[in-house]
């Protein structure tokens, strides 16, 4: 049984140094951001911008490092409370002041998405603003299913996606394919717009409008939403459970269908609404997508387009700590997506505590070999394996390995095409 470790922001100055020294997976991190480090991505790591938020909210940009060692040393020295990853620039970001004005440019970056629970405040009843609970977390599950599907073979054909829990109230997606990294601002914005169905701010009541023909992408997204709708919206959120809530839903229903509902509970009212819509549809030439529009407005993912658009946009790094909750930004296992529980994500205090626990008897294969040059590395591996962070680092490892395999394959393909005789 896992002891509950209370996290307090005040403990960060003590916990962070330990975390950065013994738990942060620098090796995999470096391998990820080097992207093979071959001809094609020669200075990728060196030209990458990082930004740190230090103690007392001091924010520093344009940090860059020559190699893993430099990165480690610097982080262990300045102990950032938060780490952001930016773009790969034309020159080393930490030398950007020496470069002729106009020539220092952001060249490449992963395509990223940020889905934040606060953007759903108008459609969730259980929580608001920075709060989340197991009920509304389903929205994130739905969002990941839909967006992940679209970004992969279904629509955009990307292969290397890393989904990360942001640490408090949302998720991030890092699309790491070469093609994604090279996308222009216009392309990123086009992708984000393609994925956007919920439009409008405070002033807009009806945020989803569908018309014939319904694009295949929307159909597929609806299929995902339907899987969860009854359980999430009707039961969990009790959408049709109170006068106020019902009124909000009915505000999305066109005048000519509006009907007073008398049924017993949420699910029944919903069914009644639907049968009313169906009856109306049967006797009308116009297409009614009211049911679908309501479902989408309550459940479809809401993206922040500005995060995805900019090549130079900075986004929180995986394995960064969230200062308010103490939770680590860990990768999410898509194979177990529906089981993911943000409240199970380890906090920095938990894993540091786990580090201090007395060691179990060491297994043969865990023994350090005297002549092993990677002693430090091996020790680290044993360290995080002993903590709740272990399984997440393993996920990350698998992700990086798969990319490396793919990169090797690409290189072989390319050299085959350029056979020199």
């Amino acid at each position: 049984e896992m002891p509950v470790s209370d996290y307090e922001a005040a403990c960060l100055p003590e916990l962070l140094p330990l975390y950065y020294r013994r738990l942060f997976p620098f090796s995999q991190y470096y391998r990820w951001l080097s992207y093979g480090g071959g001809e094609l991505t020669k200075n990728y790591f060196q030209n990458r911008e990082f930004s740190f938020t230090l103690k007392d909210d001091i924010y520093v940009r344009y940090q860059s490092f020559s190699n893993q060692n430099e990165l480690e040393k610097e982080i262990q020295k300045v102990i950032p409370y938060k780490i952001d990853i930016g773009a790969v620039y034309s020159h080393r970001p930490n030398q950007h002041n020496t470069v002729k004005s106009g020539t220092f440019q952001a060249l490449e970056k992963e395509l990223v998405f940020d889905i934040d629970m606060t953007d759903y405040d108008d459609v969730r009843r259980c929580c608001s603003s920075a709060d989340i609970c197991s009920k509304c977390w389903t929205l994130m599950t739905i969002a990941i299913h839909i967006i992940d599907r679209a970004l992969r073979a279904e629509d955009f054909g990307f292969r290397h996606l890393l989904w990360v829990y942001s640490g408090r109230r949302g998720v991030h997606c890092w699309v790491c394919d070469e093609a994604a990294r090279k996308l222009s601002v216009a392309a990123r914005s086009a992708v984000a717009e393609y994925l956007t169905l919920v439009k409008g701010g405070e002033e807009t009541v009806k945020k989803v409008q569908l018309s014939d023909p319904v694009h295949p992408f929307i159909k597929e997204s609806l299929a995902v939403v339907r899987r969860y709708f009854v359980e999430y919206a009707l039961v969990g959120q009790d959408l049709m459970g109170s006068r106020e809530s019902v009124d909000k839903v009915l505000a999305l229903v066109p005048d000519d269908i509006l009907y007073l509902l008398q049924a017993e509970n949420s699910v029944q009212r919903w069914e009644q609404l639907n049968s009313t819509i169906q009856d109306k549809q049967a006797s009308s030439k116009k297409s009614y997508y009211t049911e679908e529009e309501i479902m989408l407005q309550y459940c479809y993912p809401r993206l922040d387009v500005n995060v995805s658009k900019g090549v130079n946009h900075l986004l929180k790094s995986p394995f960064s700590v969230h200062p308010k909750t103490g939770r680590i930004s860990v990768p999410i296992d898509l194979k177990e997506l529906d089981k993911f529980n943000p409240f199970d994500v380890p906090t920095i205090s938990l894993i540091c505590e786990e580090l201090d626990r007395p060691r179990r008897a060491e297994k043969e294969e865990d023994k350090v070999r005297e002549s092993d040059p990677d002693r430090e590395e091996q020790r680290k591996v044993r360290d995080y394996k002993r903590t709740s962070l272990g399984k997440y680092v393993k996920l990350f490892d698998q992700f990086v390995e798969e990319m490396e395999r793919s990169q090797k394959g690409e290189l072989l393909k390319r050299s085959d095409l350029q056979k020199d005789f």
């Binding site: 073979a153 279904e154 629509d155 955009f156 054909g157 990307f158 093609a179 996308l183 222009s184 216009a186 392309a187 914005s189 086009a190 992708v191 717009e193 393609y194 014939d212 023909p213 319904v214 694009h215 295949p216 992408f217 929307i218 159909k219």
Partner: protein, 567 residues
Amino acid sequence: MVFKCNEEESFPRKCVSCARFIWTCGLAGITVVSRVFWILSTKVTEDCVCGVDTPQHKHASMQFGGRKMKTIESLQTELYGHCLQLYTQPPLENISLVEFEQFAVDRMKLLKTVENLGVTHIKTSEDYSKKLHAEVSSLNFPHRTEVSSALPSEYEKRRKDHISHFILRLAYCQTEDLRRWFIQQEMDLFRHRFNYLVSKSKSDFLHRNNLQYDTINAEEKNSLMEKLINSSYAFSGCTVEEQDFYKVPFQDALDLVRTRKVFLKDGFAYVPHQDIVTIVLNDFRTTLSKALALTARSLPMVQSDERLQPLLNHLSHAYVGQDYSIQKNIGKISLEQIDLLSTKSFPPCMRQLHKAVRDNHHLRHGGRMQYGLFLKGIGLTLDQALQFWRAEFLKGKVDADKFDKAYAYSIRHMFGKEGKRTDYTPYSCMKVILSNPPSQGDHHGCPFRHSDPELLKQKLQSYKISPGGINQVLELVKGMHYQLACQKYFELTHNIEDAGFSLNHPNQYFNESQKLLTGGKEVKRELESPQRALATQVAKALLATPSRSTHASEETMEDLDSFFQEE
């Protein structure tokens, strides 16, 4: 001259061995025009022809010499293998300065027609296509796809198309306004010509231009049938079956992706044949935009050539219609008539200049030129002109002596009685709008272009134009359609629905007005073509008071977007 080489820009450099500009190495005997195009080309080859291989030669322009000449010829044949092209390769050959001018003027005429038709017609309508096609062929540009370039007359047309485009780049790269105009017309022209091609020619074009988009086979199409049908509102089952679908990387079809008007699978957009032109046009616009920016940067070098300088300076202001330099109706107008004529038959620019002369008994140089030449164009004799100006100036502070010495000379000049200037033809609208903007104390220029909209409104009110009419005029001004605004003013003041001509020149305005007012010929009303009717309807809808957004007006709005498309 020493050129600084910026790796991004491929400026030419000085060869360290032969010390000539690398772009001139080996280009002896080629006229300046080709050299000019090569400066502006973004393509570079490796070596200088003098044979020395140093790093500085990296930005050399093309090579000449025996066997390499052949490469050029074969390149050209390649280039002219299709009647349509993307203008990625600049011309490599000699052309004479006479051809230079003729080609430029012809293409100017064509683009002006493209502009005029584009504002008064829906661009996809049959009427638009027919009229534009007629203009293309009458100006001797390539217009028939089945004809092979082996036919000398066809080859000539394609060559003209190629060269004239590049010449106009020189003229239109200079300001943002000009660039925007040029890109818009070239895109519209391209779209028209592409849509005119038969399906096979379209595919041929795509392959020639390395737009290696493959079509999907029947099997794949069947398996995706429903999805393809549902991915765009233009489709039904049969149109999907009938046309080809191309697999285009989604990055090349952003407009369709952004609006979700295309089916995506595994990173590819399945673009129907009818939409492929959008893809090509995007490419065309981006490439042309970059090329124009590059051209603008290189322009100073080109302008330093005295043979080209006067041509280039005037090209973008070139008027390509009647120039009203040969006077008709000489002496048919009496000075006493001018006041009345100015309110009835003068375009606003001349009306305001006339008023300024009467009010101030003076006019500055710019105004004297614009108005003076106009008066010559409507038929005033030299004597009449001298009398007119003298009477007015003397009422001002000018004494007779000064007038005879200074001002009279320049008036005689205008009439070609002094010196041998050929430039003194009455100004066209283009010239008035684009050159010599008025400053404080000036009254020349185009009121629709140069007047503050509020002042313009007041002026129109003082001319007793109806409020509805004033709104129509102001809308056109807002859309930067200055000549159309003037045309609308013509229609309003002459109480007709349709002017029946495309306004290009103040003297044309005058002549058309006189034709209408003095009767003689019955002014034939153009039969309302469906497009005309639609255009009038659409214009009316635009200018009607906006009501609560209904479905109908939303549809109208969509039409209007394409109607008054800027970019």
